[in-house]
């Protein structure tokens, strides 16, 4: 962090604590406290919505659980602050886990609906279980009395400020650690994530649980702040308000969450006062119209694009003038705002400014500073494949049958892979090669037969279990984590080398810092191995195609595999790229790692494979060394074609 940033943050913290001294009015201080509490919740919500990319419509329910845990413990058992708050965090985290179980087996809109259902159930339960929650009557609380008498508005504000800062630090550390990378990876490519040993399901659950913990913390603070809680607060409209906060402020950004909280707390106040609303909407219409005129004259945008916001804001201003009473139409305004933000402010206010400033000056991607890492660090990046029993084959594929309905994609296939060799798997399209890949990596479960890796069966294990046991793969259609840098992609592959847990990460304990720095060193080494070290800080999706393929191989190597599965690595590569690929493949083999290579490029296959198995229509029709295969009649007929079509 550079010094100007530190100064800015320092000043902000001072202002934060000085606020209630300068504005000594309970109403405004209470608003400030509410904002701080919402910030805590939005930090957590951002993990789920901004990072893992899941739409959660149940966070108001979790917020309610936090508030009610505190309320119930206070009301029925008279528990003090330092018991209720941790209890709220724990209970809400538990509910978050409960929600995650069904929710995360599904995606997208299903997940949104599940969270909606969950939130609705929670609200119903809070309302109906009046023996515990006092139902619609609600529960009254007192502010905590940590240092003698009950706290006032001001003291509680400072307590909330401390809470918010604590949450900020914890969230930031989590997101910059292997946990945060896992969250991002699972959004970019869930399949690759699983095959790199990071179980998508498990990390989605973690994201939800952590997010719920923050919601619980916020809920507990909220109960004390309001001194009264009732079920109807924690409804679907509150959830939508939270989401609006995240999108409007800006996803994947702490500042965005802060901004978002400020907006959603102040917005209903704004919508209560018709005169204030009129002034603001007219001002907004004028700003948008002027801004559009400027943008049009500079040629940054087109008439069509500005039409909607200009007309929308003018209509809003006219509407405000016509209305007598804004409160009845609050929800419509609110809905219209969501529409506007979702389409015209997708990156949120923070994102908008970020794009704005980066459009003004060209983005300079820092080339990796290599002077720091000495040559020796690159020496042992590829661990020599653990040699167990050299005589025994490393992989035994036994009578595999893979049936989809009536189609036998693999029909009684037996292949033995010898340790330390490069074994080619070829065959016409539809012959079953990719199906075999998916069976070997746990994406498909075969209808019958067995696969033994190092004499242990692979069938029934999940993709991430298989990845962690020593089998790594690349994909036919490159599955990189597009929005992450090349270095970060490798770091995800190195996820297995991290033993530190949430506590280590949050407190930056030595176990975590050591693991993080050695992982980074190793990642750089792996990038060097495939010739990509100069591009370490480039976003993966911006790399040229050939380099993306190399990056995928490097990422697979990060798993320390004994067996590497390459799925059509040469597809779409130019001749020089293919040469590089062959060199890398040979280097990998020299480290003792066994390779299974699926390919269509016959020259690649014939030049580098020790043994080749040929599939056709799901069956193995031939096996042998290159020359044998090239002269095998069955193979020629099925695959190489009788008459070549070249002149």
């Amino acid at each position: 962090m550079n010094s100007s940033k530190i100064i800015a943050i320092g000043l902000a913290i001072v202002a934060l604590f000085a606020f209630p001294i300068f504005l000594n009015n309970d109403y405004y201080i209470h608003l400030g406290t509410t904002i701080l509490i919402y910030i805590i919740l939005l930090f957590g919500l951002d993990i789920v919505v901004g990072y893992t990319g899941q739409v959660s419509l149940g966070h108001a329910g979790l917020f309610g659980v936090g508030a009610y845990t505190t309320g119930v413990l206070f009301f029925h058992l008279g528990m003090p602050f330092y018991v209720t708050v941790p209890a709220s965090i724990a209970v809400t985290a538990f509910f978050g886990g409960l929600l995650a179980l069904p929710a995360l087996k599904v995606i997208g809109p299903y997940l949104a609906m599940v969270t909606l259902a969950f939130g609705t159930i929670l609200q119903i339960l809070i309302n109906e279980m009046s023996f515990l929650t006092e139902g619609p009557m609600g529960i009254k609380l007192l502010k905590p009395s940590l240092f003698g008498p009950e706290m006032g508005e001001r003291e509680f504000y400072w307590l909330s400020a401390v809470a918010m800062l604590l949450s900020l630090v914890v969230v930031h550390r989590i997101l910059k650690s292997q946990l945060g990378r896992a969250f991002e990876a699972l959004r970019d490519s869930p399949v690759a994530c699983d095959c790199m040993g990071v179980s998508v399901y498990r990390y989605k659950v973690y994201a939800f649980v952590i997010s719920a913990g923050f919601a619980g913390f916020a809920g507990a603070m909220y109960a004390y702040s309001e001194k009264y809680i009732s079920p109807n607060t924690y409804n679907n409209e509150l959830t939508v308000l939270f989401l609006l906060g995240i999108i409007m402020g800006g996803r994947k950004s702490r500042l965005g969450a802060i901004l978002g909280a400020v907006i959603i707390v102040l917005l209903p106040k704004l919508l209560d006062d018709i005169n204030l609303f009129r002034m603001v909407s007219i001002a907004l219409a004028v700003m948008v119209a002027l801004g559009s005129a400027v943008a049009l004259s500079k040629g940054i945008t087109t008439r069509k694009k500005v039409l909607a916001p200009v007309i929308g804001t003018i209509a809003l201003a006219l509407f405000s003038l016509w209305l007598e009473n804004i409160t009845d139409w609050r929800l419509s305004i609110f809905g219209a705002m969501i529409l506007l933000v979702v389409y015209y402010l997708q990156e949120g206010i923070v994102g908008f400014f970020r794009n704005f400033t980066s459009a003004l000056r060209a983005k300079v991607v820092q080339a990796q500073d290599l002077s720091a890492s000495a040559g020796e660090a690159y020496a042992n990046v590829i661990h020599q494949a653990a040699v167990k029993d050299t005589a025994a084959p490393i992989l035994n594929i036994e009578s595999i049958l893979m049936q989809f309905g009536g189609l036998k994609a693999l029909n009684d296939v037996d292949i033995t892979i010898k340790r330390g060799t490069i074994h080619g798997l070829i065959g016409p399209n539809g012959s079953g090669k990719s199906t075999m890949m998916n069976v070997l990596t746990g994406i498909y479960i075969p209808t019958a037969g067995d696969v033994k890796f190092e004499n242990e069966t692979v069938i029934g294990k999940t993709s991430s279990e298989i990845a962690l046991s020593g089998i790594a793969r690349t994909f036919q259609n490159v599955q990189l984590f597009g929005e992450m840098t090349a270095l970060e992609n490798i770091l995800v592959g190195l996820h297995h080398s991290f033993n530190s847990n949430l506590l280590d990460v949050a407190l930056h304990l030595p176990r975590f810092t050591k693991e993080e720095s050695s992982a980074r060193e190793r990642a750089l080494g792996l990038l060097h191995f495939v010739g990509l070290d100069m591009l370490a800080n480039e976003e993966a999706r911006n790399l040229p195609y050939g380099k993306q393929r190399m990056l995928e191989i490097a990422r697979a190597l990060a798993l320390d595999p004994n067996l590497l599965l390459l799925d059509e690595p040469a597809a779409g590569l130019t001749a020089p790229d293919i040469k590089e690929l062959l060199a890398v493949i040979r280097k990998i083999r020299d480290h003792g790692i066994t390779i299974i290579l699926i390919e269509h490029h016959m020259d690649v296959v014939m030049s580098v494979c020790d043994k080749i198995s040929v599939l056709d229509f799901g069956q193995k029709i031939a096996e042998g060394v290159a020359q044998e295969i090239q002269t095998n009649e069955k193979v020629i007929e099925a695959y190489l074609g009788g008459q070549s079509t070249t002149a």
């Binding site: 599904v106 997208g108 809109p109 599940v114 159930i121 809905g335 997708q346």
Partner: protein, 292 residues
Amino acid sequence: MEILIQLIFSGIALGMIYAVVAFGYQLTFATSGTLNFGQGEALMLGALVGLTCVDTLGINYWLMIPLVCIFGALQGSLVEVVGVRPAIKIKSEFGWIMSTIALGIIFKNVAENVWGRDDLRFPSPLPEEPFQFLGANILPMEILVVVGALLMMLLVEWFNRKTIYGKAVVATSNDRDAAALMGINTGIVIMFSYALSSITAAFAGVLISPLTLTGATMGASLGLKAFAVAIIGGLSSGFGIIIGGLILGIAETTTGFYISTGYKDVPGLLLLLLVLALKPSGLFGKTAIKKV
């Protein structure tokens, strides 16, 4: 015992309504991979517009139905143009989820301001005296609900299988880009599926209203429960949602009676969570084969 049978029959009628609304979800999801989170509000608006036609304008119930369907088509098209189309263009799932929610909020607020916040009575087109069947009271309206719902779904299925336009719709659900290359205007197909989805919801609204009360809040929980039915049945199986609807409807009426009305929404929601936890493709849906 009679009470149980009665609850079952009411549950069937209720369940068919859920099934019809769920059908609407299937339609838009198939062609565009999106759904209308404000589907419940589409039903609510259909019911209220229908009420205005019948009560204020004095139009006959049966004549009102096509009018409400036209309204539904317009409303659905509006949702598509304003809420969904921009999201599809920028390939943002978050976009259409949030915007259909937002539109739902707006529709509900508008309805509250236009028709008030109280629940209203919808005059029944059929005689209100129940007749006896297996010892239980059944309202003729309940029979109409079941028949109407089934007819609507059968009509759409026939359209999809037998006409070239229906095939075009299915093709769009399979592969939108390839469908466009065939000369199919996929934008119109998607708008059509949203229009149709709102038509079915509005139709369901005027079917159910004589049996319950009509008001601005009727759509809220309905949309969610219909979604539960869509999931339970499987988003690709028409038959499945009928079964799902029946299960849910009956569970709801029996819970409401035997446990408490406050809890009546819970079994449906729990079922949704269970199905998603155990068999996400639904009881009848096909598990998609992953291709990597």
